[in-house]
Symmetry: C2
């Protein structure tokens, strides 16, 4: 005790980049996730909640070193396994940074007990050890659904359909969203043909003198070019065809006048990329036909187009029209990570950004097919496809659309006029709750009635119940309509004030009925 006083008081703060969620923020998210889980369940997906803590070894990607074990993840070392000798160093543990790395570990660990293909969904917080900034947090929610263990395009089509259903289920009306589908293989096909044409030109007889070393070099050059092309195509919505053509070709002057060197690709290849990104037609058939022309010379590209065609066919059979899901080669985001089909869900309604400019709400979910999910663990390649919903962005969209957060109704507050009648107040509040009405007794110091009304105000209470000795003597209660009261106080004329009383006296046994009546009227 005496010791405590000497220590400085701890700061009452979350660590930097972390935050708390209060009241409606928590329940609205829970409600949205519950609706999403309902759709996923209907599609045959099973819930999975993996441990929040993984070994750094199993998480992969981030490897600990002695100086900076926290690169990108929150990591720490376990105490030595043998505490007495202290010789065996403990494992490095870390908080999961996404829900995919744990899925890989779970699938590898439990693959003999899981149905294959394995459809699973997961929802929960993930943690990133990054520099926090405004609106950038180090703990946030993810909500993923993946199908592991099948190469069938039906799995990809299913994920797209499920995504569309999910958006409608949580309250985004049809017409306000669009799921766009692209395929990484098409882009890779175009890049492949760049190289095959170059090789053909160099070795027209088809006999390439390359050994293993130059094959690796070629791979590296292709990977590097792919990254550059992706980065360039991703700017298409800002700089248009012309800008993209310049950056893929001889270079471009940016707005400041600075010259950005280009990739120096030949014109017919640049045309190929532009044809790819602009291939979306009036119908999926038209889009696919255009893509076929673009990639005619690449087996991989043709494979990608065939996959898109299969997905389009399955979605059409499922009744998902172009107003909900569309093949759109302009989807670039996500192409970098995935290996086959990719999907992105955009909300198409307009909002005003921080600077007051109108813009589309934008992406709320994305996903695609990725290979080798568990290869690190087992050596076996296991194909998978899935989607991740941006929980915070989707919640923000629902708030924007007024689907949630419009009116948070607080509890009915039973005020305390007479401390000796707590049993009576308890009786009243109990009856309200039994009628499924959110209600509470004021539990602070009741002496100052004004404080009770201030409390009711802070709670967002729709009405207050008031009973003092006079009311108890006459077996009545006063009910004050706080919402009407606030409206009247703000802008009513004297006439209205008289005509619309906001306080009612009712016999005590009619308390519940009258409260219900007022709440229904307010609703």
């Amino acid at each position: 005790m005496a010791k405590d006083k000497k220590q400085p008081r701890p700061k009452a703060e979350t660590p930097k980049g972390f935050r708390d969620y209060f009241g409606a923020e928590v329940s609205e998210r829970a409600e949205m996730l519950q609706k999403i889980a309902g759709v996923y369940h209907r599609y045959g997906f099973d819930a999975l909640e993996s441990s929040a803590v993984e070994t750094v070894e199993a998480l992969g990607k981030f490897l600990p070193d002695v100086d900076r074990p926290n690169e990108g993840v929150f990591a720490w070392q376990e105490d030595a396994a043998d505490e007495k000798s202290g010789e065996m160093p403990g494992d490095w543990l870390a908080l999961r940074y996404d829900l995919t790395a744990p899925l890989a570990r779970v699938y590898a660990q439990h693959r003999n007990d899981l149905p294959i293909p394995y459809r699973r969904y997961a929802m929960g917080p993930v943690w990133r050890n990054e520099k926090p900034g405004p609106g950038r947090f180090r703990q946030f929610y993810q909500c993923d659904a993946d199908t592991v263990g099948t190469t069938s395009m039906a799995a990809d089509a299913e994920v797209c359909a499920m995504l569309a259903d999910t958006l409608e289920e949580v309250g985004i009306p049809r017409g306000d969203y669009l799921v766009r589908v692209n395929n990484r293989k098409v882009l890779n096909g175009i890049i492949e043909s760049v190289f095959s044409i170059q090789l053909d030109n160099a070795f027209p007889d088809g006999l390439s003198p390359m050994g293993n070393q130059s094959a690796t070099l070629l791979q590296e050059r292709m990977a590097s070019l792919t990254d550059d092309v992706l980065r360039t195509l991703d700017k298409h919505d800002k700089i248009g065809d012309e800008g993209v053509a310049e950056l893929l070709g001889g270079g471009r002057k940016d707005q400041s006048g600075a010259f950005i060197p280009g990739l120096d690709l030949p014109t017919y290849i640049i045309d190929g990329f532009l044809a790819f990104i602009n291939a979306r037609g009036e119908s999926n058939e038209e889009t696919i036909q255009r893509l076929r022309e673009v990639v005619a010379h690449s087996d991989l590209g043709v494979e990608g187009v065939n996959e898109l065609e299969q997905i389009a066919g399955l979605l059409e059979a499922g009744g998902y029209g172009l107003d909900r899901i569309v093949i759109d080669p302009s989807v670039v985001r996500g192409l970098g990570y995935y290996t086959g089909p990719v999907f992105e869900a955009e909300l198409t309604f307009e909002i005003f950004d921080e600077k007051g400019r109108k813009r589309q709400f934008g992406s709320v979910a994305g996903g695609g097919r990725y290979d080798d999910l568990v290869k690190r663990f087992t050596g076996q390649a296991v194909p998978a496809t899935g989607v991740s919903i941006g929980v915070d962005r989707l919640l923000a969209a629902l708030r924007e659309k007024g689907r949630i957060g419009g009116t948070v109704v607080g509890p009915v507050v039973v005020t305390v006029m007479d401390r000796d009648r707590m049993a009576d107040y308890q009786d009243m509040v109990g009856k309200l709750r039994k009628a499924n009405i959110r209600a509470e007794i004021y539990l602070g110091n009741p002496k100052n009635f004004g404080n009770q009304m201030k409390y009711a105000d802070r709670r967002g209470s729709p009405l207050a119940v008031i009973a003092g000795s006079d009311e108890f003597d006459r077996d009545v209660v006063q009910i004050k309509d706080l919402i009407l009261g606030a409206q009247i106080a703000e802008n009513a004329t004297l006439e209205e004030w008289k005509q619309r009383p906001s306080q009612f006296e009712v016999p005590r046994d009619q308390l519940v009925a009258k409260v219900k009546e007022i709440l229904d009227g307010q609703g």
Copy 2:
């Protein structure tokens, strides 16, 4: 790539003491927590989800040291705030070990914006850096509700009532649970009188020569005696009145014959403790009357009894009878931590333990009043009272009672006989889902039909839909009732086999109707 092959494969395992939750385990818990949140909400409690990561400074209790920063919590040090100079050491962060320490931090941080009193509930995982053992995990769920900022016994009564309502809401029938209420002040009152009588004997003129130093000494002796008494009383249900009397008095031989020294308290004090722990009468009034006699000489004790009387009165007014909530001084668990009223919810039905012996299911929730929640942060004493539900134990109880987990129904599986007809299968599964039937297409390699049936079995599917080219030609589908099929396969006679077909052929446009009919029959 080449590098990968040289590295040993990572182990696909959760860290020791952590686990994954699959399917029904996840959804059953989510459903239970949702019901609990519903009751809490009706009582006016607001949701709070605090950050999972706190500064070690804010968590308190556990302080980091350089050698073993992980004592009890999972902790790690942030990278230096100023990366360039590397001079300012980063904060120590840790995963929360319960939901109360974060509540203290949140209340101190946001107290100017929160309604006071502040009723909040919180649900989520907490982490303990403890040695894992069978059934002991280092990550588990807690579910708490607390009222902060009021000394009113109505807050304590409310928490007890809410606990009873909650248990019924999740599926524990009335009669199968009992909320028992005790008060730490009564026990403290008895201990206080031990010392006051001793002092009176030593200084009959009432003038104690004690300076500050001996006052501290006296406090320490009282605290130490309290701990000893609590430990002894907690053994009452095992060793009975006689055993407790021996341990409070001259000592006791245990079963092995070893002698355990006693506390050497005088007989009339021992009688006081025994009277306390056995004070539960036929009614709360009787219990309270008995307690009054026990603590007549202690102001603190009388205060405790008065508090119990208030709680009993409020609960009676709320219609909570002795079959749901009862004043019971034999509740010892939890007394150690709390400062006023304490509550414990026990499930009273019997189960068989690991050794096949019958015993009561036991405690699933506990709580009470605790002071100085935020004093560490602000210097101000803030009273609080609350309850914590043992999420895993309550789930186990519901499983035990057959309320959950009885029949996990898997999805309807639409099998794939003909890969070229995927669009048709897609159409079928889409129609089933639109009718709110959980359904999926088999997405594995369809070549081996036996594998598809094995998959359906592993998924717990109630029925499978089968259509090959013959069925498509005739515009029909086959529906196989897998549950009936399994029953028949197990124990039907040939007659029954003939009479109860488990496979039906229906026109394709009657698929949904027939599936519904079969599912309804199975349910």
